[in-house]
């Protein structure tokens, strides 16, 4: 990844265009790589809806078309098939990377094929038509599965770059107090539950140690790239195999409500064991991690401590057991 200097945008409410799904560092957006199966997916989506509506509206006609008997049971089955097709179609068209919905179509195709083989066995109205219909659905199954695989493949780089997080919190304290706390990186493990320690090794250099699974730790060095007292701190990792950069900005909140804290972070998970570690660390949602850290920051600055209930410190799942001994809480 290229390391450009961060230039956080001004955050005046209403003036900001937050990057939504495609971040500025989305490799697909940058390299302009073309269609990763999206066009075919769209076509399959519309096909799904068309077939679904037809089965819902005219089950008998469809039954005749595929050579089934078209009795009451067939009608019910075809209506259900129609519902499933419409749902998959809407799902495919409404999501940006509809891989899951395409696999749902594949599953549906499998059901249709088994229904047809059942109908074949029980004596169809028109065996030739039914054979043709079976062949057609088998073809579509191949198309669906191929497209799902293709989208799944092209999704990976997008996911790699999607780990950009933008979060804010308002804290009822002056900016200089918040800046002072954050600028001394040794304070950060108090509010960031995944950090073990941060050692300061010079004016702008620091060494970060984070918890990893199985009692292991992972380390990297970071360099301060921007430092405007009471306003902005920017940092990025150097050397190590963890590639991360971020910035925190402090701006006065309107109406004397303290300070708005705006964090932007990028994490580019490397491959291998570290990639796995990051997947665990940031779970499904780096968003959640940063939210929790900012909440803890607010609690520490406003009340003096991270507020604990009767259970764990961990904000990523319900680890709290009020009727259990609270001994499992990490002392902080």
């Amino acid at each position: 990844m290229t390391t450009t200097h961060l230039s956080p945008r001004p955050a005046y409410p209403g003036s900001r265009q937050l990057p939504r799904s495609r971040s500025a560092i989305d490799p697909e957006a940058v390299s302009g790589r073309g269609d990763g199966g999206e066009r075919l997916a769209k076509a399959l989506g519309w096909f799904s809806i068309g077939l679904g509506l037809a089965s819902l509206a005219a089950p008998r006609g469809i039954a005749r078309l595929i050579g089934a008997r078209g009795d009451h049971a067939d009608e019910t089955i075809l209506r259900l098939v129609g519902l499933q097709e419409v749902a998959c179609g809407i799902g495919i068209l409404a999501t940006r990377k509809p891989t899951g919905w395409l696999w749902a179509r594949v599953a549906g195709d499998a059901v249709h094929l088994s229904l047809l083989s059942g109908a074949m066995a029980s004596g169809p109205e028109d065996p030739n038509r039914m054979a043709a219909a079976t062949a057609a659905i088998a073809g579509i199954t191949v198309l669906d599965a191929g497209n799902a695989l293709q989208l799944g493949r092209s999704r990976r780089p997008a996911r790699r770059a999607a780990s950009e997080v933008i979060k804010s919190v308002t804290i009822n304290r002056p900016a200089e107090e918040l800046y002072r706390f954050w600028r001394d990186f040794r304070n950060l493990p108090r509010i960031m539950s995944h950090l073990e320690s941060v050692e300061v090794e010079g004016e702008t250099r620091s060494r970060w140690t984070a918890k990893a699974p199985a009692g292991m730790t992972v380390q990297w060095d970071a360099e301060i790239t921007k430092d405007v007292p009471n306003q902005l701190i920017g940092w990025e990792s150097v050397g190590g195999r963890v590639d991360t950069r971020g910035s925190v900005r402090f701006a006065p909140a309107p109406g004397g409500r303290g300070t708005e804290v705006h964090v932007r972070m990028w994490v580019d998970p490397p491959g291998g064991a570290l990639g796995l570690w990051f997947a665990w660390l940031f779970g499904e949602s780096p968003d959640q991690q940063v939210s929790d850290d900012l909440r803890h920051f607010k609690q520490v600055m406003e009340t003096g401590e991270v507020v604990l209930s009767s259970g764990g410190f961990d904000g990523t799942h319900i680890a709290q057991r009020p009727a259990q001994p609270p001994g499992s809480i990490p002392a902080r």
Binding site: T170, V307, S309
Partner: protein, 389 residues
């Protein structure tokens, strides 16, 4: 210590659990001398509030003696007799600064769960699911009280537990329900629900200068208490059409303000109620809003709909057209108990109100599971249960 813990919907058990410990500097540990079962505990008990886990200790109306304090406390001292407010509030955030204690921005460690359901998180609450903080509740021998300086009030000598216990929740909640109606001389206030909160809302409406107060329920014992102890007029909705009766009682105007003191597990006698009951059972909606619909329809144009009954999530068929076209004002909130404890303690001390009138059952903490059933099924004319550990 012993504590009343959740087992499964409709079942709690008194278990031996570890004593609470000081976890934050501003904590206190309270040895509980009196604790109550609240109507909103029944929502937990019946399984309608998400993120309640087996083993969780219930209870958010409690008081007792401070036996230990953290090094960050300034006001509370060991040996103080205190009543504890049910919402946990830090006292230093923006919301606490506006006395909106039940919206405290810092007291819910699991705020992220509540944010997913509600957009923003309210304050943490004792013994009220993990979504609301995962704090152990007060139906136990001891409780840890975070931000003890903010969340407790010292009881003056000479006042009994039963006189002040309800400052923890139901009295301030009922009072705030009436206060939100912005009562003017001559106002007629209708209150849905003659349970503990409804009764306190009615009594408070009179304290705040209402001309007439009308209570609505179907349980005759509760309607009787409303008439005899609170001096309210009453309507039994199973015997009379509420809308028509209210119009008749108010010369066709409708009540000036209405209070919903029922919330998400409302009962009713209409087809719409059955629809909601089925939807709730199928998890298609969280709450049954039939009381809210009725209250809105009955309220006079330009009046206030005050909601203090608990709702948890989504409701269907909300009569927004009636609200918007008739200039109704909706006022709601979990009670900001810390705001009311001192003034209401004064009212009790002066004899303006005696909160003990609604206590019907006194029992030992060990009887909590049976008392939950009695209270839920409104058996034995039960209105309010006080437990002694």
């Amino acid at each position: 210590m012993r504590a009343n813990t959740f087992v499964s919907p409709g079942k709690t058990r008194v278990e031996r659990v570890p004593d609470p410990k000081i976890l934050n500097d501003q904590d206190a540990i309270v040895r509980i001398t009196s604790t109550a079962i609240c109507g909103s505990d029944l929502h937990l008990y019946n399984g309608f509030i998400p993120t309640v886990e087996p083993g969780d200790i219930f209870g958010h109306e409690f008081m007792g003696e401070v036996v230990e304090v953290g090094k960050g406390t300034r006001k509370v001292k060991k040996g103080d007799r205190v009543v504890v407010a049910f919402p946990i509030a830090c006292g230093s955030c923006y919301q606490c600064g506006r006395q909106m204690y039940s919206c405290c921005e810092n007291s819910n460690p699991n705020a992220w769960i509540a944010e997913k359901l509600m957009g923003h998180s309210p304050a943490g609450v004792f013994g009220y699911s993990h979504m609301m903080g995962g704090f152990a509740g007060g139906q136990a021998e001891y409780a840890r009280v975070p931000f003890a300086d903010v969340g407790t009030i010292k009881v003056p000598d000479g006042m009994t537990d039963e006189q002040v216990l309800f400052l923890s929740d139901i009295f301030p909640t009922g009072y705030m329900g009436a206060e939100m109606c912005d009562i003017k001389p001559g106002d007629v206030i209708a209150v849905w629900g003659c349970g503990p909160v409804g009764l306190f809302a009615m009594a408070s409406a009179y304290l705040l200068g209402a001309e007439r107060v009308i209570g609505i329920d179907r349980v005759e014992a509760r309607l009787r208490v409303a008439r005899e102890k609170v001096k309210a007029e009453t309507i039994n909705y199973e015997e009379h059409d509420v809308y028509r009766t209210l119009m008749e009682m108010t010369g066709g105007r409708g009540p000036d303000s209405v209070i919903d003191a029922v919330g998400m597990e409302a009962h009713g006698s209409t087809a719409m109620f059955l629809v909601d009951r089925v939807k709730q059972g199928l998890m298609l909606e969280n709450d049954r809003p039939n009381v809210l619909r009725d209250a809105i329809m009955c309220c006079r144009s330009g009046g206030t709909v005050s909601v203090v009954g608990v709702y948890s999530g989504l409701i269907d068929k909300f009569p927004m057209g009636s609200v918007m076209n008739r200039s109704l004002r909706i006022m709601t909130g979990q009670c900001h108990v810390q705001r009311y404890m001192k003034p209401l303690l004064e009212r009790i001390r002066k004899g303006e109100i005696d909160p003990t009138f609604l206590i019907t059952h006194r029992a030992n903490l060990d009887d909590a599971p049976a008392m939950y059933r009695t209270f839920r099924d409104k058996q034995d004319e039960c209105i309010k249960v006080v437990l002694k550990p």
